[in-house]
Symmetry: D2
Subunit: 385 residues, 4 copies
């Protein structure tokens, strides 16, 4: 199996999400970090690269320089794709530079700073014909995939009700006034965009609901809030949802739910059954029925689908977590790159990776949520793009 | 301690809730069932009374007749209060008849068929000066009381977010077309009023949220649905809430959440802490904090408040349930009756019982929920009465 | 349905278990407390009886006097049976007096102070032909009954492994040195017998294991301990078990497991499946399988057996607890009494009540446990009686 | 930070545990696989090495050859240590060969095939002065480390009771008769040693109990069983334990507990508090107290110790699992190797890694368990070595 070569933009020393991406990328030995522009501070980027055992010549302080330099390397040496792990406002320019230089892109979410940027990004992706992936991490969990497959197979019947929530408590106090760098940029419109809570976690919740149900949100009614005084962006939001099949739902995302960690949870109810998944114990999927016992499905069990099992590394009862879910996204994307190299179609596991349409949809969701919250009109239709 | 004498209207053979009320009333040996009009079918009422070991002369088929007959009995024999356990449309006329005949009333919820009736009922209660109680059962759980006290004491800080939900699955299919009598009347506007789901369980959720937080819902935005074809009343509903202190929230009630039982749950988040209670394991109350471990409080533990402990009958770890919570309402109401008899003020435990203001508020909630759902206007203010 | 009349010995003011028995007895309106000798202190017994609204003439201070006086009453007035809720050392003499006076007996456990007493009690029960029941409370839970039925139906296959545990923490400190009356008598050999922990809760665990599996413990190896200095009786014990079908097991009972409440739990594994039940959430029964999802069975669900459902009072999701389980024992025993009165055989629900053979077996277990613990011999056979 | 170079023996294509070790080793980017003898089948070893992107010259089919070849490489190229992931019977000879060739060793458990081998191994380790580590994986979980630290700090008081269990169900049927290679060798005395269940998982349970409590098992009483007909080795076992401070305990390990996965769990009770940890939800540690609420501690929370936090990679609520725990062992061992290279003492995190004394103790435990089970004598002392 060809080793896929990755470059990284962002994720220098001290950046939480950069380290997560690197572990996820390398977990299965299919992807090798070969270069990076880890910081616009040249010395910091250099130190980060050295700490990662990269040759100094492959460590950059400017992502544009990196794209050009890598493009000049022989095909067998240069990176295959760029992982973008910067704050939101750089997602678009870095992705654009990478694509224009001929590199595939795997980006952290949200895809861009605005819907407009996302639409431009789609044009570039489509015109270059290159691959684009997005780390909607929660869709990487094996039991989330099983949930999706069960619904697609009709086991729950016609979906009627969707409840998705993502409560956190880490912004219950004004962390941005201290030295919490992540809080600072996520609450800064210039770096985060028009939303903090919806842009950071609400968009995960919306994506999870759509991924699992196979439905699309058709309209929504929203109430976003900045509870902590002085904030320019929302730290909490709730919405009523309507889906394209007539189902209804609720989405809650919050960063001021004191004492909550990253408690993303999805419940779906059809006319035949219901399901329940939550990150707190991600290796379990609950199926509920009207007239027989609730079933507790567990990762790696023999009754799961082949796709689910292919996203698991350990035997049942040896828990997998967030890093493994994240790695599943990387493995799928690497599989797409490899298939492209080999001139074949990606297999099912590789194809199962969020892409540019999810990127656009996510940005549309964020903008619609903010607009709906600002409006006295009850329902706001999800626009088609 | 004086034994309090109770009459019952409704709850004849086969009626689920009547049996529950009788167990709850008698659980602590403080209340004795002395008479009843269990059914408007005289023979059925007679059989029910005989099964309950009542003297035939105290078993009636007409509640008006019962009021008159009981009123003629010596003070030491006649009932002290009437428990009303009929379908909704009879709550008001029975309560009115009882009050006008001089009897205190403890009614199942919702209090009446309409807000208008509830307002009239309040006038009657106030003009007669008699006692009125309402079985918002979930407020009877000891750990719900502890939750209320903790918030009142400021332990969670300023309340910002309230999430209350009550999912059921029993109406996911058209049960009303079969021989499910409860489904039939709850979905019949003539007997149930203008709402099924909100009138039956949404009102419980709203009451629980207000009881525990001590806040009042000030406005709401609602989306109610009748998912099962042919239904005239809602079987599901979700709303966005705003509270009078600026807190926000979500209320979900559903009868089509396939596989759910009676999973009422409340989460409250303040700027200092959060709490979580659910009926599935009612003897546990979770307190969450930003910087110290989540705490699991348990019924009967020594660190609970005196009021909480007074609502518990078993040592810690010997679970109590729904019947005991229900009994706590009865014991409180009986305590009010006894205090009235004794010419003293009720003690704290007795005073802690839903009353006529909760009755009015519940009906206002139901009507506002339906109106808001039918409207294209986003927010609807909770009217003052 | 004939109301069954009950007398009580023990359970005066302040006695925890007496109040529990009275609630359990009266819960379903089938049993009426008509007399009692609540304390050997005449004034205390009188006050207790008055608080229970008993006529003064039916309140006694001497249980022998009560037996004689009740026996002289007309058949339609005198009690049908005696509930014994005293400390252990009085179980036998009270039961003997009751039986000799012609009254059925329902006793708290352990049945007697010694195995020898239990064997004498069996002789008396058999010679009088009267009914004898024992409140092994945990067998009253509906899901425990379902567990028993599933195993009897072969769903788990051949049972191989049984793990039963009952950890408590209430005796982790020397409570007996303070004013904890229950701790004082349970740790006093004259009142409790030769064991505290095994006599109080170990015997429950052993009974639960045998009741659910339908197997008998054939031999055991034990290690009992008095961890708190100065104690004459055990406050903790663990054993290895062997059953009559070749299954093996472990029994743990402890009163020094700090922070545990009454966490009795049973796990059974057969060659086809496993089950798991615990009092902490008693309305759930888990079934585990090798090749399909774990199933979560819930009280009142339609897929349960008729016997299980007949032991439930509330709809699914409205939890039942310890008092209801206790009441199920009372209802079964009352059913036996009624059947005897009516000259018919008891129905399935009534027959499902621990009796004199369980009483003997329990005392044999306690004595064997203590002897085995004191011995350097590894295995000790459960003697046949 | 110097990259540590690892060689591997065993773990060729299709071997479950080899892949786990490789992921764990590489997870943090501190260790690089540079060579391996993945199988004694030369072609299979070659294919495995190629799949891992190793240069052909560093892939061997004979581990002795590997040791010699690597020893001849320049110091800056040859491996630092060997990871041994073969079936049990090869652990000793491979470790011996590696140590005699001058390489540190990190071995899967149990350390050897017999206690005698373990004692010889210790002599070799001591005489060579090289590093030896053992993958008792469960001690790698952050919350297990927190548990150990809390007990060491005296928070539970004097430890009295230890309950450790490891139920699995995968050998409930005769898997060894099919094509389950792992079942086949684990039940073959020539490859597995004198025990299957105790050698595979019982030893984990014993190690976990001793690691967390800081106590040593001083004597035990055991009952091992081969439930499935035809087996030469145990598939289940239970024991009573006594610890060197007077504490008592129970150890249960089972491979025939149908429906269980890898449900290792530890409970410890002291005179001040209790704790509970289980792999099913490994990011949670429960602390129980007699007079205040049970506390739920969570990975990555600010109130944890520095050592615990240093073993965590993700923010709270983003679960970590088995691979991360495994990686913590590798990181600690790599830290020891690096410290040795740098001529400094290992830091706290690196020092926290099972070593040769744990290896000897594990083999002593297995042999004592089997001997005790075969004996009619009740207690068997844990010998000193």
């Amino acid at each position: 199996m060809t080793e896929i070569r990755m470059g990284m933009v962002g994720g220098g020393e001290g950046a939480f999400i950069g380290a997560i991406h690197r572990i996820a990328a390398s977990l299965d030995g299919q992807i090798k970090l070969v270069c990076g522009a880890f910081s616009s501070d040249a010395e910091k980027s250099r130190r980060s690269g050295a700490g990662l055992h990269l040759p100094p010549g492959r460590v950059y302080s400017d992502y544009r320089e990196m794209m050009q330099a890598e493009a000049r390397l022989p095909a067998g040496e240069r990176m295959h794709f760029v992982a973008i792990v910067t704050p939101n406002h750089l997602h678009f320019p870095v992705a654009e530079a990478a694509l224009r230089a001929g590199f595939h892109v795997l980006s952290d979410k949200p895809a861009t700073l605005s819907l407009q940027e996302a639409l431009r990004l789609r044009e570039i992706v489509n015109s270059t014909g290159l691959l684009y992936g997005l780390t909607y991490t929660y869709t990487g969990y094996p039991m989330v995939k099983e949930a999706r497959l069960r619904i697609a197979a009709g086991q729950l019947g016609n979906v009627r009700k969707v409840v998705v929530e993502y409560p956190q408590g880490w912004l219950a106090r004004a962390e941005e006034d201290g030295d919490n760098k992540q809080a600072a940029w996520r609450l800064d419109p210039a770096q985060a965009g028009i939303s903090c809570c919806m842009g950071d976690i609400g968009v995960h919740a919306a994506n999870l609901a759509e991924y699992v149900t196979g439905l699309k949100i058709s309209s929504l009614c929203a109430d976003l809030t900045a509870f902590v005084p002085g904030r320019k962006l929302d730290d909490d939001g709730s919405m009523l949802l309507r889906f394209d099949n007539g189902a209804k739902g609720v989405l809650m995302a919050s960063q001021i739910s004191t004492g909550e960690e990253n408690a993303i949870r999805l419940r779906v109810y059809g006319d035949k059954g219901g399901l329940d998944w939550q990150q707190h114990e991600p290796n379990t999927l609950w199926l509920r029925w009207s007239d027989r016992p609730t079933e507790m499905l567990r990762t790696a069990a023999p009754y799961l689908s082949a796709l689910t099992l292919s996203n698991t590394r350990t035997p049942g009862g040896h828990p997998e977590g967030y890093l493994e879910a994240f790695a599943n996204i990387y493995v799928a994307f690497a599989g797409q790159v490899r298939a492209r190299e080999d001139g074949v179609a990606p297999d099912d596991r590789s194809a199962d990776c969020p892409g540019i349409e999810d990127a656009v949809r996510g940005m549309a969701f964020i903008e619609l949520a903010v607009a709906a919250s600002d409006s006295e009109q009850k329902w706001h239709s999800f626009p088609g793009y």
